[in-house]
């Protein structure tokens, strides 16, 4: 029996282990999944690390973006393995190294916090751009670094357009064009619905949603630009000089009644402000009854205060017949209302309305009312 001698073939040289962004099991760009595969560790550990580092100074976000640019994806593995790093987007490798150095810089040098302060917003903007483009077009952060960068730029462009739509919608709603904005939103919705049966127009979803949300926020906040923008300081001499209604769109409004000759009995004071702060200063011998509402903000009258979202404050004390009772009816969108006897925190003589943090007992007590 002849035995054929077997010749031991020399073992093939081991291929160096390469790091790729994983195609499967990816959440965003496959960086953490690729790292997990490379180090044979559960990728969730890298994901948790990235999230934690993102909330601690934003380093996780910057590092992830750098990895997204530097590490090739598995889709390109056939091309990437046959080329040297120098032949594959060399400039992007250099860019990635620069980003990594910038990530390390703030942690190595104390004065680098300024760099971190600039880089983190940029990184957030790039990440937001990638995510927005992913939402709008369905193209995730796959492909080579150039594709990712291109999608980030397109996404940032979409964000800018949405920002302009948001500002325009909010301004139109605040300036009295709520009906026009609402009709525009409904028309866009009808077009999207019709497109569902004919030809989808998904690109219209995001602008329409942004327009509806910005206008809705303004309407829910009750912001109305009627009354103008700026600082208003009213010091009426008598009850006859009081306006039927004090209105301000955005700004600060001070109504100082300490030198106003007010008759006994009920005196109405109606105040409407869109966004801003209102201060009503009354003499010690005036009783104040309040019916105030603020959509978002703070209401303070003498010893009482309330703050938050959709805040009401109602206080209707009785007053003796020979005492003035000021009936304040206030409606604010976003801001604060303070009613009291003291104006120690207001430099009224110099037109400088300093609405700083409240001082304890600064507003005095509503003692003129009947106990």
């Amino acid at each position: 029996m002849n035995e054929t001698p077997t010749r031991q073939l020399p073992p093939e040289p081991a291929q160096p282990k390469r790091l790729y962004r994983a195609r499967s099991d990816r959440v965003i760009g496959g960086v953490c999944a690729g790292l997990g595969r490379y180090f044979d560790v559960d990728p969730i550990i890298f994901r948790i690390g990235a999230v934690v580092l993102t909330f601690i100074g934003g380093a996780g976000l910057l590092a992830y973006l750098a990895a997204l640019l530097l590490i090739p994806s598995e889709e390109d593995a056939g091309v990437a393995t046959g080329e040297t790093p120098a032949g594959r987007n060399r400039w992007l490798v250099v860019l990635g190294v620069i980003v990594l150095l910038c990530v390390a810089w703030p942690f190595l040098v104390g004065g680098g916090l300024l760099v971190a302060g600039l880089l983190v917003p940029v990184a957030i903007l790039v990440a937001a751009g990638v995510l927005v483009w992913w939402f709008v077009s369905g193209e995730g952060p796959a492909g080579d670094a150039g594709d990712v960068a291109k999608r980030a730029i397109l996404g940032i462009g979409v964000l800018l357009v949405c920002g302009l739509i948001s500002i325009g919608g909010a301004w139109a709603a605040a300036a009295g064009g709520e009906t026009i904005v609402a009709v525009a939103v409904i028309v866009a919705a009808v077009v999207i619905l019709a497109g569902a049966f004919l030809r989808p127009v998904r690109w219209l979803v995001l602008p329409a949603l942004v327009l509806a949300l910005s206008a809705g926020t303004v309407q829910a906040a009750g912001i109305d630009l009627e009354g103008g923008v700026g600082e208003r300081d009213y010091r009426p001499a008598s009850a006859a000089d009081l306006q039927d209604r004090y209105e301000l769109g955005i700004g600060q409004l001070v109504i100082d009644l300490r030198r106003t000759d007010l008759p006994p009995g009920d005196v109405p004071l109606d105040v409407h402000v869109g966004v801003g702060d209102v201060r009503v200063v009354v003499p010690d011998d005036v009783c104040v009854a309040t019916d105030a509402h603020v959509r978002v903000g703070e209401l303070r009258t003498f010893e009482r205060s309330n703050d938050g979202v959709d805040v009401d404050l109602e206080d209707r004390p009785d007053a003796p017949a020979d005492v003035t009772r000021l009936l304040v009816k206030a409606n604010l969108g976003v801001g604060s209302l303070r009613i009291g006897h003291s104006a120690a925190d207001l430099n009224l003589d110099h037109g400088n309305f300093d609405f700083g943090p409240p001082v304890p007992d600064e507003l005095g007590r509503n003692t003129a009312c009947a106990s």
Partner: protein
């Protein structure tokens, strides 16, 4: 031809928001954050969910 589910869901959500805005503008309802915030969150969530589920992979 089957209708595009994402466009349908998004269209109805945006239509609901538009109708609420119109009712508030006309004074029929008084829109406040307590009512608008859940509606906005529901609209965003439903739209994102529909777009995500119907996205070609």
């Amino acid at each position: 031809m089957r209708p595009d589910l994402a466009s349908l869901v998004a269209g109805f959500c945006i239509l609901a928001l538009g109708v609420v805005l119109l009712l508030d503008a006309g004074g029929t309802i008084d829109l406040r954050f307590g009512g608008f915030a859940p509606l906005a969150c529901a609209a965003i969530g439903a739209t994102l969910g529909a777009v995500g589920m119907t996205r070609p992979r």
